[in-house]
């Protein structure tokens, strides 16, 4: 669905954001794009969305070259940026005007999503709170039926209930024709939502695995055993002993802690990736 080959991009000549990035995004997945600040997560989303052009390399989104920004492409790819704009008009009018550009727009879906988020139907959009504006755009993004949804820090500014609602609507939105990419620092908010983790750092993909593969190869558990802790890929102290990431030699099931996984990849990326390049234990 999205294919990125040898992507080179820089805002300033001497400081490249990407130098040879390769990535393939497949339909039917919700990707969690993780990484430190300034490592290119938003740049990657804007490149896929056609708002930034590669200096070298190629991006292909469903047969389109994003930089051409053809209407048919823009109808199929929706970017919800972290900083967004909503015009000074009421919700009904805004939906009426903007939905006209999206032939597959589903008004009923928008209405249901808006009701789920308890969006106010009166008042001007630009006068809503940041969180309410974001929820409005999330509902709109879903209703466009775009095949590729690019969401940059979508849970920032959402209250606890809305974060739950966000997870619910996103989980229901993914299908075999759609791919959702969520760039976030709020890993905990999305832990149960994303099914593939992509960690980006220094313009490279450090880690890119499905949650199933992570569960299969890594074991997340608490331990009081000092020897086990010493041999862990990653460990951190907690009230209930040491939280560990271990190679999953026994094929035991555990629930991946993505925050810990992220730290493990940042500290011992090579070792973690090595485990995924080995043959399956199961």
């Amino acid at each position: 669905m999205v294919s990125i080959e040898n992507l080179h991009f820089a805002y300033r000549r001497r400081k490249p954001v990407f130098s040879g990035l390769n990535l393939a995004l497949r339909p039917g997945h919700i990707y969690g794009l993780l990484g430190r600040n300034g490592m290119g997560k938003s740049t990657l989303l804007r490149s896929i969305g056609g708002f930034l052009f590669p200096h070298r390399g190629r991006i292909d989104v469903m047969g389109f070259t994003p930089g051409q920004r053809l209407p048919a492409f823009l109808q199929r790819v929706f970017l919800l940026p972290e900083d967004f704009y909503l015009p000074p008009m009421d919700l009904e009018r805004w939906v009426g005007l903007y939905s006209a550009f999206y032939p597959a727009f589903d008004r009923e879906l928008f209405r249901r999503a808006a009701a789920g988020f308890e969006l106010p139907t009166d008042g001007r959009l630009d006068q809503l709170s940041y969180g309410q504006q974001k929820k409005t755009l999330i509902c709109f993004a879903l209703a466009t039926k775009a095949n590729v949804l690019l969401l940059d820090e979508p849970t920032n500014g959402l209250d606890i209930v809305s974060k739950g609602q966000f997870r619910k609507v996103m989980a229901g939105a993914v299908d075999e024709d759609r791919c959702i990419v969520i760039s976030t620092h709020q890993i905990k908010d999305l832990e149960n939502l994303i099914d593939r983790v992509t960690i980006i750092d220094e313009g490279k993909i450090l880690f890119d695995q499905t949650i199933d593969a992570i569960s299969e190869r890594l074991l997340f558990r608490l331990s009081y055993d000092a020897e086990e802790t010493a041999g862990a890929l990653y460990s951190e102290d907690s009230f209930r002993g040491s939280a560990l990431i271990l190679p999953n030699i026994t094929g035991e099931d555990s629930r991946p802690d993505l925050e810990m996984l992220y730290k493990a990849v940042m500290l011992r990326g090579e070792r973690v990736n090595q485990l995924f390049s080995q043959k399956s234990h199961r």
Binding site: R46, G49, G50, F51, L52, F53, M62, G63, F64, T65, Q68, R69, L70, P71, A72, F73, L74, Q75, F78, L79, P81, D83, F84, Y85, P87, P88, M89, R93, L97, Y98, A100, F101, Y102
Partner: protein, 286 residues
Amino acid sequence: MKQGSHTNAHFSFPRFRHLVALHWSGNKRLYLLALPAIGGLLAAWDTFLLVMDRYSPLDDGIQAFTYYWGMALIGCLYSSTIFAAFGSKAQGIAWLGLPASALEKLLCGILFSAILCFAGYTLVFYVVDIPMVKIGNELIAAQHRVWSNGYPIGPNPIWDLRKGLPGDNPDHSFHLFLIFYFMVQAVFALGSVYFNRYAFVKTVIAVLLFLLVFLVFEKQVVEWMVPRGWHRYNLANDWIADGDTLHARSVRLPPWITAPWAILLLLGIPTVFWVATYLRIKEKQV
């Protein structure tokens, strides 16, 4: 799905219509407030002339002056904001991400900044001008005004913009002015895409710099290429030899060359700038 299979990739009338509706809906409050504000400024200016001119206020010359300068100023100011969305990343993404082509977005900008701005300003100008000229004429009649040589001052006609500048000067016919307006508008529209902030001021500076370079080129390079003693007489097409003596000779290209050339230049420049604006929109990154 391959992109080559898409029809209407560059222009679709329904999409253009949606774009126009969207622009109008987002800006109508501003536009509907701007029109009476412009009318108020024109009325204030006309009132000033009525008070200050003790002879023949609001003659057709001052009406034309008011129209042209007001039009140029408002057109430039407005055009320099027509693509102001690029000034902010959030608005830029919203605007560029809207599923319409760059051509449709450009045409929507031209429709509002060149055509509707011209129509709206002209309407407001006459809504103010007609009653103000009438008041001026009533003042002339009531006060039995006379020129300094004793001749009575007659009523002023409403200036007809279709006749261009007063005096039936064929070089200043209306259609040429209109194209000149498009030219200026196109330059400022490009400025609004090119400069993210302070587009109006930066475009003015860019235009002035261009004029400076043009004048230096005219004076230093072109004059260097013509025979000794010949000078450019004006910026149109007149050349003069021995201009300081009684034996001056003036040379001018025949109208069959200059007239099409003028039209071509006046039509070509806005086209070039609109094309440049289109390309700039296409290559814009946010």
